[in-house]
């Protein structure tokens, strides 16, 4: 149920887009209205979520330190894993966001009778990195459809992505990698007992959605050979706010587009917000300098304490007997 329900949902969404455009000729709805609405919902939802995080205070400097602190001048500090400066934090965040530093640290614990073994476990890191980087490259490649003239760097990226020169049209490496990575990320959720135990329907849903998007996109490029000029006309119409009614475009393109729309509408309301969230994470984005510079808690308030005077009142006699100095004398 946790797996089947989100899978059927994605299939249903794809069929809706297919049927609506293939038989009901709702191209304007799926090619213009839905994308605009989805984009608006994405922007609003994203902003709400991020502002809600921003509205919460960061009362304490709770950096997770993963290396030597800055202390005595002759002790070598781990400036990136335990930053004490702004530059160090920027470095740590860049490592985290671009190269998944913490996931790279991953290990695998095994218990054999009364022994524990800790092995290297880089597959999750590799799979995650492969997915996210190919996703990024694919998104950037799609800018070709929304920009006129097409900037030079997009051509460069496309060239690099198709460097193997296989097939016509040329095969993009990222197309293969993203499907492989998503499949890996799906399979580990199903196969590894621990991951299966913790996985929810909302973990499978984005995976199926992304797979649907990737596979329909691949089919459009290598299978049905969609009319790119026509697609670009529609895309340019959308970004220039003078939308044109899509004519004679493959229904599969609307499947692709609709799933993208669902993804970005869903994005702000689920775990996909880990993407902006990592930038807000107080255990990563704060310098471990709270002994050097006072961290201020905006809602710090006075509390009731048991003062020394009260303590002396309680124990003064006993203190006097053992010769401890008293304030009251």
């Amino acid at each position: 149920m946790r797996i089947l329900a989100p899978f059927l949902l994605v299939v249903a969404l794809a069929l809706i887009a297919w049927a609506s455009t293939a038989f009901l000729h709702l191209g304007t709805l799926f090619g213009v209205i839905v994308p605009y609405a989805a984009f608006a919902l994405f922007v609003v939802g994203f902003a709400i979520r991020v502002m809600r995080w921003g509205a919460s205070a960061v009362p304490f400097c709770i950096t997770t330190t993963c290396g030597q602190q800055k202390s005595l001048p002759w002790v070598r500090q781990a400036k990136l894993d335990n930053p004490s400066s702004y530059a160090g934090v920027v470095g740590r965040m860049l490592l985290e966001v671009l190269f998944f530093r913490s996931l790279f640290r991953n290990s695998k614990a095994e218990k054999r009778d009364d022994r524990f073994g800790y092995g290297s476990a880089k597959w999750l890191w590799l799979g995650a990195l492969a997915f996210h980087w190919s996703m990024l490259i694919i998104v950037v490649r799609h800018f070709r459809l929304f920009l006129d003239p097409v900037p030079e760097f997009i051509g460069v990226i496309e060239g690099a992505d198709s460097v193997l020169q296989i097939g016509i049209p040329l095969l993009y490496l990222t197309d293969v990698v993203i499907v492989g990575a998503l499949t890996f990320l799906f399979l580990r959720r199903v196969v590894l007992p621990r991951i299966r135990f913790v996985s929810l329907s909302i973990d499978y849903f984005p995976l199926f959605l992304l797979l649907g998007i990737a596979l329909s996109g691949i089919a459009l490029r290598y299978g049905v050979r969609v009319d790119v000029t026509g697609v670009k006309e529609v895309a340019m119409g959308l970004v220039s706010f003078s939308p044109v009614a899509p004519e004679g475009i493959e229904p599969l393109l609307f499947v692709h587009l609709f799933l993208v729309c669902v993804l970005i509408v869903y994005f702000p309301w689920g775990k996909l917000m880990h993407a902006p969230g990592v930038f807000f994470s107080p255990t990563r984005n704060l310098a471990n300098n709270s002994r050097m510079v006072r961290h201020v808690n905006p809602w710090n308030y006075d509390v009731k304490v048991h003062t020394y005077a009260e303590y002396e009142q309680d124990f003064g006699e006993k203190m006097r007997k053992v010769g401890l100095p008293l304030d009251s004398e």
Partner: protein
């Protein structure tokens, strides 16, 4: 302490999972895995809400009538006050990187001890009451109702977490289960659902200044005993002062060091070092606790207990504070104290009176860790050391969770140990430094009734100790944490018998040569030093690197 299960039965588990979802797996309370309920009188001393009679092993916890509203209100309030809490409710992708990082999961095989699931216990409630999809779709999107069973499950598992932050080091978003446990315990405390092992020390610390409830005359008595022992060992009488106004430095130590072995040996180590150097310092019977069980109750309670340190430093008119070997104490000094109770502008930037080193890393908090202080002394050749006095010890070093992952104090203690011991070996790389494994008893879990939990939680650490025992003959586990010193002896007795547990400053004091006439035959434990009679004459010549000119430098 009840008799513990055999090792065989203790080890009879797999690191596996049922094929179901965690949500379909009911929780049963297992004897030995949880603590006694807080007695109302201990909560009332500090004015915590909803103090009431209840028992953690009974069905009915006598919850207050509006407990559900209190919990949900409590969650909402904390999400506004702590970005960490709100964010960590939202961003987890359940990638599972944390799953096998928790010592409680590794030691119990209970999949709800995987940090991701322990967090999901609360996230599922968050989704149900604070997200639209959860309100509408419920279990389909991993949301569940808040019931008494859910609340009990929180209690069971939030007190099976030592807030060690190991999961946080591995999480790609830095999600820190400690933050969620802390919030969970705060919320449970709104209902009077603390454990007595935490509530008792909190009440003690509030009224008497320390967790173990030592009154001023008892502290002085204990210290006198320790000084007697030191006199037997060194032939010298040390007279540490208490509550003395005008001293340069206030020394604050965890009260465990004033109270029970082997912490007392660590305390004797601090005193021997400071007295030998003629440091102008004093201790306080009022601020007689560096640790803070308030932190395992609520942020506010922690702040209320912590306030004593700065208040006493100001009253006594000292220039700065020196802190003893304690784990969570140093998490709080490093990350919380100045924010709670600062700015400490009545203090001065700490400067070592011996070396003149300015501790610029403590510029604002004005509190220095004693291993920073001592490492600086050794680096500047200010101590004459005879590491051969520790030759019968083959030492490994346990990074306590808090000084490792909430501070990064990794090299200072190692530098000291390498200078005071000749035999030092590291445990496997995956079990030390930022990846260090918890003792299993932190965050107020070092009670007696949950000993099985502690033995299990400490198993991965113990197993790493055994690895170096088998490989190098390690017989001594050094650490800089009072909870380690309190809990490791039982853990070692069970899993790696014969392992000595010691604070770093006990090792320092054993190696410290107080003068030309300091020919010792006993160590700080009043145990015969092996070979002590043979090398009396050689003593002067074995000072270790650079220590010959120590007293002239």
């Amino acid at each position: 302490m009840a008799k513990q299960p055999s090792k065989e039965s203790m080890l009879d588990y797999e690191l596996g999972c049922t094929p179901d979802s965690w949500m379909d797996t009911p929780t049963e309370f297992r004897e030995g895995m949880y603590c006694h309920a807080a007695k109302p009188k201990n909560l009332e001393v500090v004015g915590l809400p909803n103090a009431h009679e209840w028992s953690s092993s009974e069905e009915d916890w006598n919850l207050p009538a509006h407990w559900k509203e209190i919990v949900l209100e409590g969650m909402k309030e904390r999400m506004d006050k702590y970005r960490s809490f709100r964010l960590f409710m939202d961003v987890c992708v359940r990638c599972g990187a944390c799953a096998d990082k928790c010592h409680f999961y590794l030691g119990t095989g209970d999949p709800k001890n995987m940090p991701v699931v322990r967090a999901e216990l609360m996230r599922s409630v968050y989704r149900r009451y604070f997200t639209t999809s959860g309100k509408v779709l419920g279990p389909l999107v991993g949301a569940r109702d808040l019931t008494e069973d859910v609340l009990k499950e929180w209690w069971y598992y939030f007190f099976q977490c030592t807030e060690c932050r190991r999961c946080s080091a591995f999480c790609p978003y830095g999600i820190d289960q400690a933050e969620i446990t802390i919030m969970g315990r705060e919320i449970l405390n709104l209902l009077g659902l603390n454990t007595d092992w935490i509530a008792g020390p909190v009440a003690n610390c509030y009224m008497k200044g320390n967790h173990v409830g030592l009154e001023p005359q008892t502290i002085l008595g204990n210290v006198e005993f320790m000084m007697d022992d030191l006199e037997d060992v060194t032939g010298r009488r040390f007279e540490p002062t208490f509550n003395r106004k005008g001293a340069e430095i206030l020394l604050v130590v965890p009260s465990g060091d004033l109270y029970a072995e082997p912490g007392t040996f660590t305390f004797m180590g601090y005193i021997m070092l400071l007295e030998h150097l003629g440091i102008d310092y004093t201790l306080s019977t009022y601020a007689s606790e560096g640790g803070n069980f308030g932190f395992f109750t609520s942020n506010e309670m922690a702040k209320r207990l912590n306030a004593k340190m700065y208040a006493e430093a100001e009253r006594l008119g000292v220039k700065w504070i020196l802190g003893g070997e304690c784990g969570h104490m140093w998490r709080l000094v490093n990350q919380y104290m100045d924010t709670w109770n600062g700015p400490a502008d009545f203090l001065e930037q700490p400067v070592s009176p011996v070396t003149g080193t300015v501790f610029s890393n403590a510029a604002s908090t004005k509190m220095v860790h004693i291993t920073e202080f001592t490492a600086d002394l050794i680096y500047h050749d200010k101590l004459k050391l005879d590491p051969s006095r520790n030759d019968h010890l083959v030492v490994t070093y346990h990074d306590s969770c808090n000084t490792a992952r909430a501070m990064g104090l990794l090299e200072e203690p190692r530098f000291i140990i390498k200078n005071v011991c000749n035999n030092f070996y590291e445990m496997p790389e995956e079990t030390i430094r930022e990846k260090t494994l918890c003792c299993g008893s932190g965050s107020g879990l070092n009670a007696g009734e949950n000993m099985e939990l502690r033995l299990r939680g400490g198993l991965p650490r113990a197993e790493a100790v055994r690895t170096v025992r088998d490989a190098y003959g390690v017989n001594t586990l050094a650490n800089i944490c009072a909870l380690d010193r309190a809990s490791f002896p039982a853990l070692m007795d069970y899993w790696v018998p014969g392992t000595r547990v010691t604070g770093v400053h006990e090792l320092v004091a054993n190696a410290l040569v107080l003068g030309d006439d300091d020919h010792r035959t006993l160590d700080l434990r009043l145990e015969e030093l092996p070979g002590a009679h043979a090398d009396v004459a050689a003593d002067a010549g074995v000072g270790g690197a650079g220590s010959e000119e120590a007293n002239h430098g």
